[in-house]
Subunit: 116 residues, 2 copies
DNA sequence: AGTAGTACCTTGTAAACCTAGGTATATTAT
DNA sequence: ATAATATACCTAGGTTTACAAGGTACTACT
């Protein structure tokens, strides 16, 4: 088993970091307005500078919905496949604000640690 | 299966967020000077405002060492159990800088998303 | 002798991203 | 017509990793 390159390690780390951030980002996007899964993937890809896999987003949306943090409804399109539009709920907005608060706290901690 | 409370969901999320952050934080601490596992746990606990479990840190230190991002040496204490002191390597410092760069980028992305 | 504090480690479980598939509809090119 | 592309959804299985819960060993204090 060889030692990985820095590039490989960085990519692996970025993937791990996303695990926690994705919840926050999805709720933040939905807080700005309704959207559907396929569009969400491209929005997040731009924000994070990395393409999000569908196998990541769709299960996440299901989990958020089962936790009642977001709600969903199908909309038949005049052209193209139907879309499942998601909205943030009050509980979701509540959690989002607490996440942002915690995020700011952690960010301060890192700032102090890097620039003491 | 009942819906979780906001507190439970937040705690769960914070745990996930740590998955990515811990690598960065451990390397950042070691970049400021050598340290040993037990002391590292209390330092991180203060920074993150949450007590880190030993079962989290010790395996992480082993992984970082096997990736040659940190190095370790035992030191016999005049009093008390021996300590395993860790140092950051050049490769570790290199990765840390790239992590911080990516972190800043992601942080900007979140800022723009929350305050457009 | 017993308790508490320091310091290390391992095993097993749960969570969640991602790869690699799959389905279905509409448009465009051949 | 029909093949290819784009849009849009989903799932199963592998992999990683934080954490709980357990363990070992040394020292100091009562």
């Amino acid at each position: 088993m060889s030692v990985s390159t820095t590039e490989e390690l960085l990519a692996k780390w970025e993937r791990q970091l996303r695990k926690g951030l994705l919840h926050l980002l999805v709720l933040a996007v939905l807080d700005k307005g309704e959207t559907y899964g396929y569009e969400l993937i491209s929005k997040l890809g731009k924000q994070l500078g990395a393409d999000m896999a569908e196998g990541t987003i769709y299960p996440l949306l299901s989990r958020l919905q089962s936790e009642k943090l977001i709600s969903a409804e199908w909309q038949i399109m005049e052209s193209g496949p139907a879309r499942k539009y998601y909205h943030i709920t009050d509980a979701g907005r509540d959690l989002l604000n607490q996440m942002l608060s915690h995020w700011a706290h952690v960010n301060d901690g890192i700032e102090r640690m890097v620039h003491p």
